[in-house]
Symmetry: C2
Subunit: 387 residues, 2 copies
Amino acid sequence: MTQAVRHEEMRARNLEVVLGAVGRGGPLTRAALAEVTGLTKSTVSKLVGDLVDAGLLAETGPARAGERGRPGVAVVLSGARVAALGLEINVDYLAVRVLDLTGGVRFAARRERDNRGSRPKKVLGELQTLATEALAEAHRLGLEVAGAVLAVSGPVGDGVLFSAPNLGWQDVRPADLLRLPVPVELDNEANLAALGELWYGAGERDFLYVSGEIGIGAGLVVGGTLFSGATGLAGELGHVVVAPEGAPCSCGGTGCLETYAGQEALLTAGKAASVPELLAALERGDGPALAACAAAGRALGIALTSAVNLLDLDRIVLGGVFTQLYPWLSGPVSEVLTARLGGLRGTPPVLTASRLGGDAATLGAAGRVVHRVLADPAPFVTRAQEA
Amino acid sequence: MTQAVRHEEMRARNLEVVLGAVGRGGPLTRAALAEVTGLTKSTVSKLVGDLVDAGLLAETGPARAGERGRPGVAVVLSGARVAALGLEINVDYLAVRVLDLTGGVRFAARRERDNRGSRPKKVLGELQTLATEALAEAHRLGLEVAGAVLAVSGPVGDGVLFSAPNLGWQDVRPADLLRLPVPVELDNEANLAALGELWYGAGERDFLYVSGEIGIGAGLVVGGTLFSGATGLAGELGHVVVAPEGAPCSCGGTGCLETYAGQEALLTAGKAASVPELLAALERGDGPALAACAAAGRALGIALTSAVNLLDLDRIVLGGVFTQLYPWLSGPVSEVLTARLGGLRGTPPVLTASRLGGDAATLGAAGRVVHRVLADPAPFVTRAQEA
DNA sequence: TTCATTTAGTTCACGTTGTAGACTAAATAT
DNA sequence: ATATTTAGTCTACAACGTGAACTAAATGAA
């Protein structure tokens, strides 16, 4: 239901409109802002003044010289006040990242360690140490951390990680084990990586991000917004059926994409013990490795065909392990997509590798907090005092 | 981008909030509206007054008797002023329907005729006659028709029907051939039927509506909103891959759902010349007919498994021809869904038959116009004149 | 019957916010 | 030097929601 609008909400929305316009449109003068927002110059002046006072916008030097008329003073997002904390638990590392409002990275750290089979308490304890370090650094820089988001690979709902096939965890509630002075939210790695690509990567407004890890997840971005389904569990690409009579899958079904293109399937078929080993074999041109990638690519192409038909995708970004395997996967995937989708849709979707690689998830996690501030800056802005 | 809010928009939003609260919450007094909207009694009184003057709300008799205190006067949506026109072109009939704001059907007509192979000009000419009749009746009832939406089965974009496999049409722009005194929009039958079920049928806020016609389409509703993908082409369930090595499909691929559960496949496998004939055979317990439905049901189950994994569905509504075939389809579909989804998701999605049957599309089409008025009543409301 | 109590709805002075246009400021062109 | 152009501020004003006082209409108790 739409909420009622009072004067307070009107102001809050207009602060958002101005801040958002600057965020998207680069440096803008007050006059230009009045133009693009449709608000009057007076209103924009007041709002910009308050946003500058709040430390969310900053004036840059005079914009545009050499033309007639008084030069305007452009404003840009300011990274001086608000920051956000992004956290990630992966199979073989923990990562934290502090982002300011402009998207600038103010702190980043990564601890390589094999989390497979480790108890949640132990892993989250280590993450807490890392996060505390990050918060201390943010504090030292004079930044106010507005919140934190933790990325995990596995289905998430209501603060609970239902299962993490890569870690061997089940029904963990990380917020209970992670004592931090800022609120911590939990979300799926594929979703957050998709948002990372949206905000700090390719910048397309519609795409499917495919996250190839132990399992295969996906994050769908439509019109610049994440689609996460009715209960937040959308994007389980790994269990899309590729061959109904195929091999049994851990989910209880048969012939799921994961049984062809999941990490375990890839390594077994490619006769490699680890992903780096598989990559080395591919570089060498090893037969089984090449065949494994080709088969995985074709299966991925079939699953993506179904996804394109259901979701109307015109761009697919391959992330996670698939980023590194992209040179060997893209051929078979594209072939299948072209053969199966060429008829109905004029052009098959564009396939690319992730731009951000392993950084996508923490960027998306911190970005989520950043974008929440951009979407509702009012709590950070004090009403200007009349003289 | 969020739009700037001026006084005018504030008022428009609050009109929407009040109207929407009444629309959802049944008869409500001004006092109750103040409670649920969070606006003050004075504001609600003004807005309700204007909405009543505009003919969008109507006062009913005194609400609640027998309790202490002055009884309030409840208001309800009024069907007296605004109406909407829903149009549908199907393989074997044309249908029109006039709906008022309350969802009341004010006029409905249906012409049985085989449109297969007919030229667009001829079919749309006949539809125009029917629509003109409907508009005349609306006029006679004193209703202002706010707009019309036309449902067609096939992919639609930007006012163009790209292809209609059931009619044999390609790249038709119906608005060019349909001269009506109200703006006519075009949309996909599956999407509109899904909206029909949302607003006037089951009333669930999250579900996938599956439209079984010559082809198989789907409309996804999430959180009470239609999801239509980046370019409006989402929901092509018919070309989800069910068996990669299966029979060739008209789309150029192989093993698409349509090759198992499309009308042509069903009739061929069931040894029937038409859907009524197939139904009769099923009622008789004919072997081939039963086998055809079982096979179609299993294929549908596999395609829906992929859809559930990607879209996070907890409710699936079978519509179109599948509504009538439901008794024979639901078993195999449910079996597959339970077997393949029981592991990951606690419970498989709930499967039901469409409640509205063949009426879903025109209801959704007209409903779309109705809901546009409900979502932005301001253009119909004149500012109250101060005394 | 009468009057207190309770709830509904209206009225009006007021506060908050955006608007419009006059005004000041700072650049280039003539 | 002066006109022109564009940026930004200032101020009277209008639109709309608020809040409290007020009127209206019911029930319940004396």
